[in-house]
């Protein structure tokens, strides 16, 4: 359990952040630019003065009340900076070993050879920072931070300075690290896609305050998220698993309570964990069981709430056996269908519209997820941030 309750100031900016995050796992710190994400991770690392309390399991790094404030160099908190910050006078090898040489000799869990192999650094060892691409630089920075044997790893928008097309030089490696080591990570991002791809827990930050915290599924339906992802990014996230596949192996059946969704996911065997994002704009509501329709994915549930989202839309929350689905509908539809909370409804989701929204689900047991990450037929799951804002636009969407 990472337990944080800190205040810090930077110029006129005041941060007051309080949250708890389960460990191990990747906690995503998500929020717009200027939300205080960097200030918060700097405070956690001990690089800026802060007051309050920072604890991870038995380790206390900051406890102002008890007079504890461990110096940054003794916190053993790894930090991967946005701009990598490799030492220019050292080659990659010596950069990697910098922290390792200074780590206490006991409890080394990350070994040099393993990290080099895992991050694909073998051919880069003799190069210097200026001879590396942005993605390679971040991989070296990751390896360097891990080899210092940190107890917590902070990743401060490690992909922000890499152009969108080259993020895949880093993201799969991050997933490998997550799956290989049980080290707790705090991943700062303003890209919702990265969050969905990596996170086991999400903390929403805006104006120096924590707006909400919880699992990606819980956060996905939290009203506080909506202004951060925009109208087209709103949708519910469902962590589930494959319960059946078709003979061709291209369509997987996912369990949503007792309901079923069939989604194009190649090579995902039965039992594979899947994180599904269903955008609110892709869900259609019916007030009676639909028939004579080409849509195969129909989920029965109860209309839980109707939220007025301005003149154009109403956001409907549908409760399906503990799973919350969101649907964006019009005011006219609400009136004509006589929608009101408590009503029995059927949510229609076209399989094609789900295709781009399948993420390998981060979880404690990792073995069954590899094939899935590689297996999304259109490659989207491996390349989540294709459009500018990093929001999932879906060119393959067929209505």
């Amino acid at each position: 359990m990472l337990d944080v309750d800190v205040t810090a100031t930077r110029g006129s900016f005041a941060l007051r952040a309080r949250f708890r995050a389960p460990t191990p796992g990747i906690t995503a710190l998500f929020g717009p630019s200027g939300a205080g994400k960097s200030t918060l991770v700097h405070a956690l690392a001990g690089l800026v003065p802060a007051a309050g309390r920072v604890q991870l399991d038995e380790a206390t790094w900051l406890d102002t009340a008890a007079g504890t404030d461990v110096a940054a160099e003794r916190r053993r908190i790894g930090y991967v900076f946005q701009d990598a910050r490799l030492f220019p006078h050292l080659d990659v090898e010596d950069n990697l070993l910098y922290g390792l040489r200074r780590a206490p000799p006991c409890d080394h869990y990350a070994r040099r050879d393993e990290i080099v192999a895992l991050l694909g650094l073998g051919t880069l060892l003799e190069r210097r920072a200026h001879q590396l691409s942005g993605g390679e630089r971040q991989r070296v920075a990751l390896g360097r931070a891990l080899l210092a044997q940190p107890r917590l790893l902070l990743l401060d928008e490690p992909l922000a300075s890499i152009d969108v097309a080259r993020r895949d030089e880093v993201l799969p490696y991050l997933e490998s690290l997550r799956d290989r080591y049980s080290i707790p990570m705090l991943y700062v991002s303003h890209q919702y896609d990265e969050v969905l791809r990596l996170a086991t827990h999400v903390v929403l930050l805006a104006d120096g305050r924590v707006l909400a915290a919880g699992t990606p599924a819980a956060i996905s339906v939290d009203p506080a998220l909506r202004p951060l992802v925009g109208v087209d990014g709103v949708g519910s996230v469902i962590d589930t698993e494959v319960i059946a596949t078709d003979p061709a192996g291209t369509l997987a059946t996912l369990a949503i309570g007792t309901g079923r969704l069939r989604v194009a996911v190649a090579d995902a065997g039965v039992g594979a964990r899947v994180r599904l994002q269903v955008l609110a704009r892709d869900v259609i509501l019916a007030t009676e069981p639909p028939h004579a329709l080409s849509v195969r994915n129909v989920l029965e549930g109860t209309l839980a709430e109707l939220v007025d989202e301005g003149p154009d839309a109403v956001l409907a929350g549908i409760e399906i056996e503990g799973v919350r689905l969101l649907a964006r509908i019009t005011h006219a539809a609400v009136t004509e269908l006589g929608l009101s909370p408590g009503l029995r409804v059927w949510a229609l989701v076209k399989a094609a519209s789900l295709r781009g929204h399948v993420y390998a689900r981060p979880a404690a047991d990792a073995a069954d997820r590899r094939g899935l990450a590689a297996g999304s037929p259109d490659g989207h799951a491996r390349r989540p941030a294709e459009n500018e804002k990093g929001r999932r636009g879906d060119p393959s969407l067929e209505r």
């Binding site: 160099e73 006078h89 780590a103 200026h130």
Partner: protein, 228 residues
């Protein structure tokens, strides 16, 4: 090729310049660090003080040194009584005068290189477990190396030619404090020293040029190692 007197002047010049650089380099690095990284009230004053020798007449510097480090000066008397060290009218004294005069040059070069070291790299070293002295030695200092080298070579080249402060504080003693410019001055003073003066002037010119070219080449090589 060179006469015995010329060789002697060259030898004294090289010793004086080398000693002055060796003694002032650590202090120059410390002062540069204070001026760039430390925040304290007297910083502008320290900055001005370090640069004083650039604007003061060298004779004034020599005179002040004589007041402080002369045999009857407070520091000079203490040094003599405690350690038997005499600075006035000795090679060591010439080195001290030279060090004071070339100090601003050295601090300026080192300071410039320190300003070019991204503090974020020191932060990174910190998160990797390096304490203050460790990260200064393993990150900051290597990255400052081109500037330190340039400063040292420039100060050395300038030190070969320091005149006013040396002659005031250390006098013009053959074999001890008679450096190239002092020998040149002596030659000019003597009625038939024209040729000797010209040869010494040419020697000074060649030394200075060689020093500056060497500094530039070394700095370029170091910079190439650090990358763009």
């Amino acid at each position: 090729m060179l006469t015995a007197a010329e060789l002697e002047a060259l030898r004294v010049s090289l010793i004086v310049a080398a000693e002055s650089v060796a003694c002032s380099l650590p202090l120059a690095i410390a002062i540069a660090w204070l001026l760039v990284r430390a925040r304290f009230a007297g910083r502008p004053l320290l900055d001005a003080f370090v640069h004083l020798p650039l604007v003061l007449p060298p004779v004034v510097v020599g005179y002040l040194l004589l007041l402080a480090f002369g045999v009857r000066g407070p520091i000079g008397a203490w040094l003599h009584a405690s350690f038997g060290i005499r600075l006035a009218f000795t090679t060591a004294g010439a080195a001290l005068a030279t060090a004071v005069m070339s100090f601003p040059l050295m601090v300026r070069a080192i300071r410039l290189s320190l300003e070019g070291v991204h503090p974020g790299l020191e932060e990174a070293a910190r998160t990797l477990g390096a304490g203050q002295i460790d990260r200064f030695l393993s990150v900051t200092l290597p990255l400052m190396a081109p500037g330190i080298l340039a400063g040292a070579v420039t100060a050395f080249a300038a030190g070969l030619g320091e005149f006013g402060a040396v002659i005031t504080f250390a006098a013009n003693i053959p074999g001890a404090t008679r450096t190239l410019p002092l020998a040149l001055y002596t030659a000019i003073q003597s009625p038939d020293g024209d040729v000797a003066a010209a040869r010494l002037a040419a020697l000074s010119f060649a030394l200075g040029l060689a020093g500056l070219v060497a500094a530039e080449l070394l700095a370029r090589r170091l910079r190439a190692r650090l990358g763009p």
